[in-house]
Subunit: 207 residues, 2 copies
Amino acid sequence: MSPADRVPDVVIGRIPLYLRTLSQFQAQGIRITSSKELAAVLGTSADQIRKDLSHFGGFGKQGTGYHISYLVGQLKRILHADREWEVALVGAGSLGSALLNCKEINRRGFAIVAAFDRDPTRIGSQAGGVTIQDGRHIEDEIGLRNIKLAILAVPGPAAQQVADTLVASGIRGILNYSGLALRVPEEVMVQDMDPAAHLQRMTYYLG
Amino acid sequence: MSPADRVPDVVIGRIPLYLRTLSQFQAQGIRITSSKELAAVLGTSADQIRKDLSHFGGFGKQGTGYHISYLVGQLKRILHADREWEVALVGAGSLGSALLNCKEINRRGFAIVAAFDRDPTRIGSQAGGVTIQDGRHIEDEIGLRNIKLAILAVPGPAAQQVADTLVASGIRGILNYSGLALRVPEEVMVQDMDPAAHLQRMTYYLG
């Protein structure tokens, strides 16, 4: 695909939210929806939704709405969410443990199959059905299992070093809870889960 | 300000990340930086950073770089991060407790001063220096203290009802960990902290 054909990343970022809302509708027994209805729930415009979806072809006819189960299937296929992804977690403190026990992540296609910590009191203990391993085994375990996604839930100061190890192990995408900006090679993606940054995005408007 | 003068929200979303990285530089004893250096850490382009900052006036001269302490002060002022914001938290399960104990949130200007749960075994207990209160007191407490920001850390099914209560209490910004798309009035902001959605944004590129 040439760069000109690429779907903008900001559009890709919205597709999981469309999928999430459509799945909610589906769980409520709703079978058909419209871009207008979706927009109302998502706090966006019907135009935006239609434009975003048009990058991937047409999913509904003007005036007849979207068949939810079809659209859910297509969006899952687009996001590669039609399979289960194995995920490694580093940092099994209170936040890491909460994530290990989070059923929602699993329900949406992600299995945390390996977890690591360097605290000896945590190593060997169980959380979310996984045994916490010594952080020294990160490279071996991730390489062996060919895991491509990692959740980084260690405190700030240690984060960059762990990120380097994850990248060396073959990780291609990091969900970063460390609150630290990570330096990674261009081919590795980072998504920041930073509550302070997201709160500041709102206080801008509240001053 | 007329809508034409408004800084795009996508730009606002990047300012906290610039502030975060600049504060890291500052903590490392660095006094001057450049858009190029910032861009390398942030995985973006120097052009983008210069363009984003130009919305708020000039912060550095071509060729001389940015004085970090000055720029940090200005960005804090822009984001209203030059004061401490009180925050209410609803849902003191494992994730909520981890957030209550998160020093990073506090260090960056947010004080969780009230926490609520509906589980009787949690009500009255302490976490992060706050006593968990009965969820029935949300409206009274938030109204009385005039709190404008809330963290929603309850499981999906209960989230919309709690969000309605928060909005009725005067909350203007919600950091949403529920994994549910919330319906809120136009004047209320929601920032989604949804690990599955952020993982899917990366699996799109990994298929």
